[in-house]
């Protein structure tokens, strides 16, 4: 990526400027370093890392299949409470540990080793919730990355074109964006899914479409200032084509706010996808998807709280991770906050 011109945009930013230029590495590396100086961002990174790990290795970690029904095989009732084997061989025989173990056992946190272990219990269909939670990380991450990715690409193209060429194109594109923004995002997403039919792909598309205007606006506002810069004027004077200027000059210099917006947008996308699938609009009801797991068992809130607790917790962690990283990135990339 061509980033050699980056600081030019910030030329007038004032006395914070020299310090920024003195640090080693490109803007991105600096930004990352800045970001992870904050503890909250580190926490976000760790959670996200864990989620990524879970998503990647779900089939290896999960003791059961995503849709494996255990009613007939293990003789357990659906919605059986969690069963955790605490007395395992590999725990060292230390008094403290064994005391803790017997305390937990006495309080119903452990279960006899002849009962099959289910860390998070069974769901209403007699499937292992722990395994489904793990597989759910895949669905959630893939879908939210897909949704944000598509929205960023579309929003960037639209914003670049609108901002760079201005005039009538700008007017048309941005008015369409305004129309999209006029609807509450979730409502519009529901409308889109209803029109196209339920399904994970359509849900991703819907969440994506409703966020395009946000990215388009962010990019456009940057482009409006970047296109007036001297280095763009220089390129123009040299007869560089519009396309080349857009891709090699304007785009790289407009990316920083977009990255922040996209990271925070991931959190929103996770939530909106969960909401759509809570409403039964995100495709196959059997797919391990946290929002769906929550919705199907919501009436068991008081009788089998584990069925609602774990999916809810995972959605929260996922959103939290992206929000923490997003906040950190924003602070790192915002020139006014650099001191």
């Amino acid at each position: 990526m061509a980033v050699e011109e980056i600081p030019l945009g910030e030329q007038q930013a004032g006395d914070a400027e020299p310090a920024l230029q003195l640090e080693r590495g490109g803007l991105w590396r600096q930004a990352l370093r800045q970001t992870f100086r904050k503890r909250s961002a580190v926490a976000g990174g760790v959670i996200l890392g864990l989620l990524l790990f879970i998503a990647l290795f779900a089939p290896v970690i999960a003791p059961y299949g995503e849709r494996e029904v255990l009613i007939a095989t293990e003789g357990l009732r659906p919605r059986a409470e969690p069963c955790i084997h605490l007395s395992v061989d590999w725990i060292p025989d230390v008094p403290v540990l064994s005391r803790a173990e017997s305390f937990l056992e006495a309080n119903g946190f452990s279960c006899p080793s002849d009962r099959p272990q289910h860390l998070m219990g069974l769901d209403g269909n007699g499937r292992d919730v722990f395994s489904r939670i793990l597989y759910g990380a895949r669905t959630s991450l893939v879908a939210s990355v897909g949704a944000v990715g598509f929205a960023v690409v579309c929003g960037t193209v639209l914003g670049l074109v609108a901002g760079f060429f201005g005039g009538r194109i700008d007017n048309v594109v941005m008015r369409v964006m305004d129309v999209l923004l006029a609807f509450p995002a979730l409502l519009l997403a529901i409308a889109i899914v209803t029109a196209r039919g339920p399904g994970l792909f359509n849900a991703v598309l819907a969440v994506s479409v409703v966020t395009i205007p946000v990215y388009a606006r962010v990019i456009r506002s940057r482009v409006l200032s970047v296109r007036e810069q001297d280095f763009v004027a220089a390129d123009r004077a040299l007869g560089v084509s519009n396309a080349r200027i857009l891709v090699h000059r304007v785009l790289p210099n407009s990316l920083t706010p977009l990255v922040v917006q996209a990271t925070l947008g991931m959190a929103t996308a996770v939530l909106e996808l969960a909401a759509l699938s809570f409403f039964g609009l995100a495709g196959d009801p059997d797919t391990a998807e946290w929002g769906r797991m929550l919705s199907v068992e919501r009436n068991q809130l008081f009788t089998s709280p584990h069925l609602v607790f774990y999916p809810g917790l995972m959605i929260m962690l996922n959103v939290l991770a992206f929000n923490l990283i997003g906040d950190g990135l924003r602070d790192a990339l915002d020139p006014r906050l650099n001191s």
Binding site: R67, V69, G124, G126, P198, G280, D284, R298, Q300
Partner: protein
């Protein structure tokens, strides 16, 4: 008002004269033209019986005198009293029907123990006691209907004391209610059936072998045991055990995966088959308390014998419309009894006039059902319905899976609390010491309160407090009891039914009930060309289902 009524009369008399002139050979109407001591009203359409344009079974209604109404049928109907007792046939004052243009949707007036006080859309319906009630006046002055689709919320509201009674206790909450000394759990006898349905016109379900294979692939016990509350049973036929015509030991599909694979191979799919979507709606019903879970389990069971289905969850209204128009090829649906007779289950689904829900019907089944519906001898009927069971087993357009138990819960101090197998709990029969209000929380808000044009139990239960039919059902049971009609009799071959109305019954608006109101209440439903045949959406589904069809049916039928 008065003038309009006279105009109607003139029209009706003229109609009667024409009918009498045309259909002179009709020997069923043995008694001569009625004397005009009272504003005798008669609608005689008996010459339409069996003609192409009329599929109905109702031939004539006449107000013989002020307190006598006579119904004449084209074909005998043994279930006629049970049908007349149904709440879609509640009696409305004829003046009010006219004043509301045939659509008393949010201001019904009846003779019932409660009158409608206020309907705050989206929040609650308030009923107050009718002081001039002909029977024993209700002891609770105010009954409030509220609603929530979430069973957990209903239970919490009951536990916290915000409501006094709730409908459909969640499957997992039975024990919670039972263990709570402040609450009482009342189980409903399962008077319903949950089944897997096929449109037998759509491949691959046009092959009976495929349908039978699915029948043998389903482990009904596993479904009932894991997804149904106590009191539920495995289904062995389309009728639940509470219906008098239930056949002991009917032949049915039993779990036999080997047989299923074999049938599948016979049908030409030795390596399994993709059958497409299994459609259902997520809303719980007494016959199916946990739809998504049962759908997942059925898919899993089918997959084990090589039948691969996808799940297709649809919005409730869309789903029912799709089923009724024959758009669904493979679906999960059920039926709860409206009145305790086999015709309510069989004819609605598999009779000659049934919707294309299962595709084009089966002529042999049509024949058996028509005969069973018009036979008076109960033993003979039982024999015929046993044949129907065999035919259903052979053709397998539907696989009955479960009879779902459900329950209502009340605070312990509610006296006379009961659960009705027909879901028409009557609050006039309840009392709470030291409390002048009872709050009831059900699943949903009624769409309208003119129940001639409603099919949803959420609406019917409210209507049943306000409007009464000629007959009714006993409190908490299915026995037909006198309501507005003190007694009734029929002729030998069950084609002529005469009802004698109770004396001195007044409507909530003070007008008194007479035979003319009964005729008007039926007429506006029966005659599709009547200016008051309006309702909420104008479908009058139950009337059509109960009596086979309308007079002057609209030319484009079916598509609603």
């Amino acid at each position: 008002m008065r003038r309009q009524r006279t105009r109607w009369l003139a029209l009706l008399v003229a109609f009667g004269l024409v009918a009498a002139a045309c259909g002179g050979d009709d020997d069923e109407s043995g008694d001569g033209p009625e004397e005009a001591d009272f504003e005798a009203v008669a609608i005689d359409e008996s010459d339409q019986c069996g003609t192409e344009g009329y599929t109905g079974n109702l031939a004539a209604i006449e107000a013989v005198d002020e307190l006598t109404v006579r119904f004449t049928l084209c074909e005998p109907d043994v279930a006629f009293p049970a049908k007349v007792a149904f709440s879609a046939l509640g009696i409305h004052p004829s003046e009010h029907l006219e004043a509301t243009g045939g659509a008393p949707i949010d201001n019904p007036i009846g003779t019932g123990p409660y009158r409608l006080e206020a309907w705050e859309r989206g929040s609650q319906i308030v009923l107050t006691a009718n002081e001039d009630y002909w029977g024993e006046p209700p002891s609770i002055p105010t009954v409030v209907f509220r609603w929530s689709a979430e069973s957990a919320q209903r239970l919490v509201e009951l536990q916290s004391g915000d409501v006094d009674g709730i409908d459909n206790v969640g499957t997992e909450d039975f024990a919670t209610v039972q263990d709570d000394p402040d609450l009482q759990l009342l189980e409903r006898e399962p008077l319903n059936v949950f089944y897997l349905g096929f449109n037998v016109d759509k491949p691959p379900f046009d092959d009976p072998l495929v349908r039978q294979a699915i029948g043998y692939a389903i482990d009904k016990e596993r479904i009932v045991e894991n997804f149904y509350p106590e009191g539920s049973q495995v289904a062995d036929q389309f009728l639940p055990p509470g219906i008098p015509q239930y056949e002991e030991g009917a032949e049915t599909f039993t779990y036999d995966p080997e047989r299923a694979r074999q049938l599948l191979a016979e049908a030409g799919y030795p390596d399994g088959i993709d059958v497409g979507p299994l459609s259902y709606r997520a809303e719980p019903r007494p016959y199916l308390p946990q739809p998504p879970q049962v759908a997942s389990d059925i898919r899993d069971q089918l997959a084990q014998v090589g039948i691969r289905a996808t799940l297709d969850e649809q919005e409730s209204g869309t789903f029912i419309d799709n089923a009724n128009t024959g758009n669904l090829s493979f679906y999960m649906l059920g039926w709860g009894a409206d009145f305790p007779d086999a015709t309510n289950f069989w004819d609605f689904h598999f009779g000659a006039g049934a919707s294309p829900q299962f595709g084009t019907g089966f002529p042999d089944l049509h024949e058996v059902l028509a005969e069973a519906g018009s036979t008076t001898d109960e033993e003979e009927r039982a024999e015929l319905y046993a044949q129907a069971n065999d035919l259903l087993f052979e053709h397998a357009p539907a696989i009955p899976i479960a009879y779902g138990g459900s329950a209502v819960a009340f605070k312990a101090e509610v006296e006379g609390a009961h659960a009705s197998p027909l879901s028409n709990e009557q609050f006039a029969a309840m009392s709470i010491e030291g409390q002048d209000q009872l709050v009831w929380m059900q699943n949903g808000e009624p769409s309208g309160l003119y129940c001639a044009d409603e099919t949803d139990g959420e609406a019917l239960r409210v209507c049943e407090q306000i409007n009464e039919s000629l007959l009714g059902y006993e409190v908490g049971g299915t026995e037909v009891v006198p309501l507005l009609a003190e007694d009734y009799e029929s002729n030998e071959d069950l084609t002529e039914w005469t009802f004698h109305l109770r004396e001195g019954v007044t409507f909530h608006d003070g007008t008194s009930l007479d035979a003319g109101d009964v005729v008007a209440s039926y007429r506006v439903q029966w005659d599709a060309a009547d200016p008051l045949h309006v309702g909420r959406d104008g479908l009058f589904t139950y009337f059509e289902a109960l009596f086979g069809g309308f007079l002057n049916p609209p030319p484009a039928e079916g598509e609603a």
